[in-house]
Subunit: 193 residues, 2 copies
């Protein structure tokens, strides 16, 4: 019997720290890989194609959508994002845990199509006020975009109830310890099926 | 709304290392207390009344059994063991996590009577061979008692399927890390009720 990896779906309002936290997990926990999403959005300064995202054209995205190459996809701020099925499944079959950092829309699709053996984690900012501060500090978005992100954040928080775990990112070290514990504990969890 | 603690039920064949592991948890994780069982068995050298167990007479035990003062009880090797309800409930209500290190009989009673919010953890030796070695090293039991313990261990292992988590105690440090992770992750788990 081959042991299979687990799929960890991590969502968080933009600015709650999910990228930093998940990068630490990949770096420090052996046997965990991050799924690189495909997107049609513009590359931000510092981002690398194939590492942060695979940047593809809208035409290419729609073609892959038609041939069902994504286990979930979403349109956020006018851009498409999708998780390639082949990458996820081949890693799970090699007993590697796969982390998806995706928004609530995508998570709900995974929940519907891929439920078995999935662990859903929501990373929360201590408050909406904190979130605004972090987004402002990041200096990548205009005030208008920040306001729009905060509005979306509030809506996203209503999906918290569909997640298995919540991690409040107040202190980064504590949040990392909690996230890491969820990964390690999940490996000890007995398969009820 | 008051937050409530969680009840962690830890079982393991005798010699698998549950006492050492749970002691480390109590020592290192704030907000976790160990439930002290009541027993009618003889005090072993080094054991302290009220710390390791509360040692009471058979008459006293039966009296408390009648007045339903235990959330579970068991008769093992001719001796009674019971978990006092009052201690467990008052700690859970104070948002403290309570650890019970009890045998499979007791765990199955908790599973039946107290399921909500309980986490069931089984600590396993790497093999039965390892278990024999550890029991021999402990030098507290005769060969006859060791053989009897191993026979029971094999039977106990058939109950593994009723537990949420399994921790294999091969390397103590790894096993502690896993057990600790189960405790921390459980605190992040969202209540589905």
């Amino acid at each position: 019997m081959n042991k299979k990896g687990r799929l960890f779906v991590v969502s968080a309002p933009s600015g709650a720290g999910k990228t930093t936290l998940c990068e630490e997990i990949i770096k420090r926990l052996p046997g965990v890989v991050r799924s690189v999403s495909m997107t049609t959005r513009e590359k931000r300064p510092g981002e690398k194609n194939g590492k942060d995202y695979s940047f593809i054209s809208v035409e290419e995205f729609k073609k892959r959508l038609k041939t069902k190459e994504f286990i979930e996809y979403a349109k956020v701020f006018g851009n498409y994002y999708g998780t390639p099925k082949k990458f996820v499944e081949s890693n799970l079959n090699k007993n590697r845990d796969v982390v998806l950092t995706i928004d609530v829309q995508g998570a709900m699709q995974i929940r519907k199509n891929f439920k078995k053996g999935c662990i859903f984690i929501f990373i929360l900012p201590p408050s909406i006020k904190h979130l605004r501060k972090r987004l402002e500090k990041r200096k990548t978005d205009s005030t208008k975009v920040i306001n729009s992100r905060l509005k979306i954040a509030k809506k996203e928080l209503t999906f918290l109830k569909y997640y298995d775990y919540e991690v409040i990112n107040d202190d980064l070290k504590t949040a990392f310890e909690e996230l890491k514990s969820i990964f390690i504990a999940s490996r000890c969890q007995r398969d009820k099926n």
